[in-house]
Symmetry: C5
Subunit: 312 residues, 5 copies
């Protein structure tokens, strides 16, 4: 971010889609979209590190013990030239002062714990606040919903309340929409489910929507009928990304994707190319980054950046 | 709406029924009742688009992909000369600035999600606020209740609280009253059920009441006895509309109807004529509009307007 | 109510029992006690119309369709010279301005819905607020409790909170105490149950207590022992009324009775005579009024007034 | 209470144990400890009348109908020279003005209702507030907890909140600690249970703790081991009282006892002597007072006072 | 603590890890870290006395009746030169004025009660507030979480809210993280569970984390795989302490350990040496102190201090 930040035409166009938001929120969206190597392109790569809550520290970091240190992630995100760094309260508190202003940050405001059984009642605990995000200098809050879980209505109501407060304070709102509960395992990443979850996030007023890459499976019988009758193209990953973007107000909302369980580098790169091709706005990539040796991760992130820049 | 808005006698008469409301709320009711081709007649056609929450985007819009764009609905409602446009938070945020002042808007403040099972516990999530409605320039809030569901008491208590706040801020309150839970499937549209649901909305202090068109079935044994004993006329659609209007304080509250599953144009028109004949105040028509090709929908809406104008 | 309202000695004596209440609340109690044909006698007849919530409009008003109009009830209560008119929010809003100052009004602040099963969990929804009562010019709020229901503790806690707010605003608090749940059907009107329910209302700080007329049945074994051992006279309706009044702080609180299912006029009159004889403070009479043709109802109310005046 | 109230040395010593309380709370504790025939001795007799909530009016007062009148209890407590009078909201409101300043009063702020089944889920409703206590001129609030009930955590959390508010307003906090739920019937008055319940009240920050007189039964196996291993003396009523006082911060908190089911006068007197001998601070005595003829009750109270004065 | 308190280099380094905290919180952390015989070393010994809530008074103090007196614990902690004293509300209120400024205190803000069954639903009651901590002059609040219990999400949400308030008031936040529920008994102290619980506390923003000493058992299959694959050293107590410290942001958060059931002195000392060797920040030692005769306890605490000073 230079002293004279000139907003690119691409980003200006994106910001114009957020016509009901206050200047503060637009400024924070611009901060994320103008930061790092992808600044100004309308694409983003965000590093999220909240797996300590979900899987515990050993399962997350034993493979790469340097990653037990919250500052490791700040540094990697900054040096790799990513768009933003997202983490829960304690992780951000540990480095927010050292790295103040060095990269846009996102306070992940609710978290899941795998120590307790979830199933159809899957829920998360609210573990941060808008006030925390403000005092830590964050640009956005992140909130997860589980459409399909028996806790859905409560999660949406909490999101509504927190998002209203965040918007009034000039923060951006990023919604992680992960369908689960009351559906088959395959249904969680079915194209109709992913699109439904993304659309719910858009309807809730999210500025940036984060979903998993969808498969070509169709979970819901009524939806399947419509998809087939109206020949919705879900044949390729890029086509499916395009459909998800379409369901997010025909591209008026930013949509980023996580790579799911894909582990080999080629898979990660193929995913990114499909996202780019389908008109998605980028990747949220966590475990695939910090669970690799640092040099390898940096190399991978650089390649991803180049893919989104259209260079690879 | 001309620069000098002269309120018609018909609308003045309607407004006089809202004698306990503040001038702000009366002004917003007047905005809805004076807007569009039906302005001044005491009739309304409202376009509601919240099916993305209830059925997901594919089942709602795959048939007409242009409708994935929130601005599509704003434009259709404005160009068709409808009375108001109702939608959830994200949908309104996407166009509220572009179309500021162009048509009265209604923020749908709670929403259902079909990803989770409902049955007797059917409930909705609160997904918007009075503050949202005010900042987006809305004239009214919309709230759904499910009389008969095990969640009824809680839904009424939330409505009470939100309606009190809305009225204090000069907004109008529109209640979608959909009976369900603890009754037969036919009972949901039984005339006694629909009338009960409409009456509850009136008792809760709703300004405009939205119900489904009732059948001539009678669900409740005690009610059936009274309807038969006192020869309530429920023999025709118009007669049933008249009865529902009667149960809304003998016409002192505005009542609009949705067409249910009717799909062919003739059915839609017949419904509207019955509503007009029975003294109803108009239609809320969503899927029957946006799931048709635009030209066809515009034609249909024009015909409906003419029906309510008494021209067809 | 004349311009110079001179409070009768009887009413002054009653007001002196409310020694911990603020002048505003005493003034509102005085308004009710000095209004109508029974003004100044210490007796009251109150017209309550909330059956639309509990039974729906058809079961309540199909027998007398004029009663679908909220203004019908205002007019009847005023013309009959009753003491006050009680109704839920929507009903009062419809006429509060037209009839401002013409009769003391009571906002019924919670309501039951028979569309949902009750049984031992019987509960009501809060459907109005103290703020509503104030803006509508009411003299009192009305609140129902179901002692014996599994919802009892919650209902009492809500009453506590609302009553505290009402008293601080100078309103009177009227408690409808209807025992139900965890008892036999006969037990709901057993003399020990009714007395217990009335006493709970008094302990909660109610100004006026409304119960059903009790039978001579004794529900609770421990209570039965005491009633028999100490020869409590429950042999006649008047004796039972006297006992209930005694349990309301030995007559320091106003107690009014509903007639239950009695339908023929003679039964209604006999009840009123028993209430008068037993020292009760009057009747709350709803369905027995508005479900009769207006002329017949007016005649009945006039007779009741004369009974309470001691003329019949 | 004379015009120049000179606090006795005994009471000064007791007050010094409440070193974290504000002067207002100390003043209210002093009012209770300096009032009546036991004023200045460090002993108290408190009259509580909340049985109307718990057992209903007939089971409580039919034996002595004069006691239906709330003023009866005020008068008895004052004339007998007791230390304080405790009752629920409605009871205090009925006489708080007439007897303003005549005796310290305690607003019982939660209440149980025997109409609903309790068992392991035993709970009470909050029926009064700190604001009520202040406007009625009370010196303290009274709150019941049921350690052992499934509702324990909630009851403690409510107590915490109300006690914090009361202390900030200069009121004293009296906790009725009645173990029940998840234990045997004998366990409710077992010495280890009673001591545990009393200790919880002390830990919660109660100023005065009220428990039942304990038996020599030991309920909990782990506790039993400790009591036996360390030879805790629980052989006599006085020894057990001494142990309970010890568990209340070694006598730094005031502890009063209720007599349980004891009915004959000799039993009541023996209990009082044991309490005195064991270092307890007095009795809370309700049913044993108001269920006797007034003269007999006055005589009994006079004897109890003399016992606590060491004269009998 | 001398008049001129010079913060040691070791403590300055520790404080620098709390870079997002306000000066008030840092000052309170410094008070704890600079107090007593371990002042300035970065090590702590804290005396917690809340077993009266969890086990009752008899099981806790019958073995040493002097400990029924809250002042006993203040005195012992002060004379032994410990770092801080932690206790629930009532315990602190009893001595907070007498010992004002004599030792940093920690208000234990939630508490468990063994009278009620816990199992998978294990939960605690909130029994104190930030306002209480401030008025009693505390340096920190203490809060227990049960990761794994069905109450986990609620406990985390309450912690979030209380911790935010505490931090805004300049208090430090100490989290007792005790895994239980939905796991085997051995799993509660398994190294992966303890590390997970500690990490959750760090993510929640705790300043000081308190866990039990872990065993070398591995509870979770997925975690086990990672621990084995990446050869995490859990072979000795010191190695396990080192791992737990590592999972607390690689030592950026203070971690203290409780000794579990170890009872003989040698075991206590061995534990302390392992904690020291593994880089832990000290011990929280309650029952092992106050359940011994005072002289023996003082001797033991002195030895522990010397161990942490590296002298033994």
């Amino acid at each position: 971010m230079s002293v004279l930040m000139k907003i690119s035409q691409e980003v200006k166009k994106i910001l114009s889609n957020y016509e009901s938001d206050c200047p503060g929120t637009k400024a924070n969206l611009a901060r994320i979209l103008m930061h790092g190597h992808l600044g100004g392109t309308g694409k983003m790569i965000i590093l999220p590190v909240d797996q300590g809550f979900e899987h515990g520290p050993g399962r997350s970091f034993a493979i790469n013990p340097a990653a037990y240190d919250p500052l490791y992630h700040y540094e990697m995100a900054i040096e790799a030239g990513l768009s933003a760094y997202a983490a829960p309260l304690g992780m951000l508190e540990a480095g927010a002062s050292t790295f103040a202003g060095a990269i846009p940050t996102i306070l992940k405001i609710n978290s899941s714990i795998s120590l307790i059984p979830s199933g159809d009642d899957a829920d998360q605990a609210i573990t941060g606040s808008v006030a925390d995000a403000l005092r830590l200098g964050c640009s956005a809050i992140g909130y997860t919903i589980y459409p399909g879980s028996n806790a859905t209505l409560g999660m949406l109501e909490n999101l509504r309340e927190i998002a209203e407060e965040a918007k009034a304070c000039g923060l951006a709102v990023i919604v992680w929409s992960y369908a689960r509960g009351n559906m088959s395992k395959d249904g969680e990443t079915a194209i109709d489910t992913i699109a439904y979850g993304a659309h719910i996030a858009a309807l809730m007023g999210a500025h940036i929507i984060k979903v998993k890459l969808p498969s070509d499976y169709l979970e819901n019988a009524d939806a399947k009928k419509e998809y087939l009758a109206h020949k919705v193209d879900i044949s390729t990953q890029a086509a499916r990304v395009r459909h998800v973007v379409e369901t997010c107000f025909q591209g008026r909302r930013l949509v980023v994707f996580s790579g799911g369980a894909a582990k080999d580098l080629q898979g990660v790169y193929d995913d990114a190319r499909a996202i780019r091709e389908g008109g998605g706005n980028g990747s949220i990539i966590g475990r695939n980054a910090f669970r690799r040796p640092r040099a390898e991760a940096m190399q991978m992130l650089d390649t991803l950046i180049k893919i989104y820049q259209g260079k690879l």
